[in-house]
Structure formats: structure tokens, C-alpha cells
């Protein structure tokens, strides 16, 4: 296996020392089959122990290692050295405040995930000692949306979130849609107020960047457009006095 010398230009920011973020360059001997996270870990273990960043699983499921690599929001454990040029610029996820080095503040999106009521809402009791039936077709309707690992790359890619922090944004909206589409759920009308508000689906202008960068192919852009269709239909139903969605 070959090794290759990579120049990592890493954004650094220590609020106790720095006025503003700046770049620091590290030269790292990388194995060709490494991911960028391996290179960052190499820096941490062998060159500069003060570098701060988040990671855990190294297998694209925990969602903690999202960063900007050469301007793109990616999972660093999914971004291979072999696909990159010799100079690599690593920055914290765009559109979020920087806490420290490559660590961003996620309070806002955590709050948004909460806000959309991402849990089964039922008006009746579940069957006793038995499951709700769900056909594979019904599962397929929302399955892709359950794949979200909350890496927040989509927020880093979405300009409407960048411009307006009140926008609920791609992952949280996709999560709401996941529950709306689940045949076990009855909470769609409860979620409507938040989703169909002007900071909900209507703030999305279908840039589509969220879906393009999503490492898990969740396709939040699609979810949001589907909710817009729902919202528009529901709006006219309400206006025309047709009984609302009670599914």
C-alpha cells in the first residue's frame, strides 16, 4: 500500500486565544486507503494534540465527523484520501457557530429536531402484545427517511438555513415527514402548524444542495417538496371546509 504526503490546511480557533479562526498546515504521511478522519487522527496522535474535533464510529453511522473538506460538507470517515488532491482544506461545518477548531455549536439543530415532534403520536392504545401491522410497501414509503444520522451536512449545504437561522431546515423537516408517512402515526395534523409555518417547508426554495451532500441518501429536498404538496392541499381543504387530514 502506497503512502502519500498530504498537506492538511486545518481551521483552528481557540476562543481563549484567538480573535478569529485561522488556518494551520500539517503535513501528513497518509496510506492510500485512509479516510480523511484517519489523517486528522494522525495529526492528533503524532503532531498536535490540541486539535479539537468530534468523531466516534469510523463507520458512517454516528454522524459526528461532519466537516467541510475542500468546501464540501462531508463525513470525514467516508471521504477517502485516494479521491483527494495533495492539498486538503478542512473547516468546521458551514452555517454553524464555531465552538473550537473543527467543533461547531449544534444547539439550534438539536432544538429543531425536538420541535418537529419526531415520535409516534397515537390517539388510541396500541394493540396488546402484538405489533401494528405494517406491510413492506408501507415501510418502504418512509424507510429512506429513517436513515438520517444527524450529521448536519445538509444544514451546512443549505443556503436558506445559512441566510435564515429560523428555517427549520432539511434534516428536521425530513424527520417530521418520516413520521407523517408512517402508517402507525396519527400526529400529522399536530405537526402541521410547525411544518407549514413560514419558517417550515415554505422557507425552502428547493436548492437541492441538502440532498446532494447527504451521505445517507436521505433526500430531504424530496421530503420537503412532498410536504409542500401536502401543505398546499391541506390549505385549500381547510379553506373550503373539507375535513382535514386525520390519518
Amino acid at each position: 500500500m502506497g503512502t502519500r504526503q498530504l498537506e492538511l490546511e486545518v481551521m483552528r480557533y481557540d476562543p481563549e486565544k484567538d480573535e478569529a479562526p485561522h488556518f494551520q498546515t500539517y503535513s501528513v504521511p497518509c496510506n492510500e486507503d485512509w479516510v480523511i478522519l484517519d489523517a486528522i487522527n494522525y495529526v492528533k496522535d503524532n503532531i498536535d494534540t490540541t486539535l479539537a474535533y468530534r468523531w466516534s464510529c469510523h463507520m458512517m453511522v454516528c454522524g459526528s465527523c461532519g466537516m467541510m473538506v475542500n468546501g464540501e460538507p462531508v463525513l470525514t470517515c467516508k471521504t477517502f484520501v485516494r479521491d483527494l488532491p495533495d492539498k486538503v482544506r478542512i473547516e468546521p461545518l458551514e452555517n454553524f457557530p464555531i465552538e473550537r477548531d473543527l467543533v461547531v455549536v449544534l444547539d439550534d439543530v438539536m432544538q429543531k429536531l425536538h420541535q418537529v415532534q419526531p415520535y409516534i403520536v397515537r390517539k388510541d392504545d396500541p394493540p396488546e402484545d402484538a405489533e401494528y401491522k405494517q406491510t413492506r410497501g408501507q415501510l418502504m414509503k418512509f424507510k429512506q427517511l429513517t436513515m438520517c444520522i444527524n450529521c448536519m451536512c445538509c444544514y451546512a449545504a443549505c443556503p436558506q438555513y445559512g441566510l435564515n437561522k429560523d428555517f427549520i431546515g432539511p434534516a428536521a423537516l425530513a424527520l417530521a415527514h418520516r413520521y407523517n408517512l408512517d402508517n402507525r402515526d396519527q400526529g400529522k395534523s399536530d405537526r402541521l402548524d410547525i411544518l407549514a409555518d413560514h419558517n417550515g417547508v415554505w422557507e425552502c426554495s428547493f436548492v437541492g444542495a441538502c440532498s446532494e451532500v447527504c451521505p445517507k441518501h436521505v433526500d430531504p429536498a424530496a421530503a420537503i417538496q412532498q410536504m409542500k404538496v401536502d401543505g398546499a392541499v391541506e390549505f385549500w381543504k381547510q379553506r373550503l371546509g373539507i375535513p382535514g387530514d386525520k390519518s
Partner: protein
Amino acid sequence: MAIAKKAIVWGLFAAGGTLTSFILPALIGLFLLVATGNVPENLQFEQFHAFAASWLGKACLFVVLFLSVWHAAHRLRVVVHDFGIRKDALVANAVYTVAAVGTVLAAFYLLAIS
């Protein structure tokens, strides 16, 4: 909180977007033919007037114009917003007024053709 009013126009925007995607290229094509001097036969005065005078023709033209103008209006509202002009209410009023005027004019002229 109710559903935001954007829902009203969004339906028109989406329908208009689909419609224009399908037919505007052909329409521009016709204008292109006209521009080269090869006016298509059915765009000659007689034929086109007859088409626009028929109720079916009127209906077709009206639907196309109506959806297109609202599609364009809504999208322009978003574009203006994207360019950093954040007076959304004002912009919305302006573009939708223009769209409404366009709708009325289209209806007026179509009805006038007989």
C-alpha cells in the same frame, strides 16, 4: 398558527412550473420560427384568431397564461429574496399585483376576441 399563505401561491407556482417546462420550449420555438420569417400556418391572423375565438382555444390560452404568470411571480419573489432584498411582504405584494394584472389582461383580451 395556521398554514402560511405561501401555500396558496405555491400550488400555482408548482403547476405553472411543470406546465412551462413542458410547453415554453415549444412556444419559444414558434417565436423563433416567426423571427426567421417562417410564420407557422396556424399563427396567421385568420387561423389564430379563429383558435382564440373558440371557447376551447380561449380556455387553453387562459390556463397557460394564468399559471405561467403566477409561476413567474412567485419565483421572482424568491429570487429577489435570494438576492438579499428582505422586504418580502412588499415584494410579494408587488409581484402578485403584477400577476393579477396579467391575469385580468389575459382574460380581458381573450374575451374581447370573437
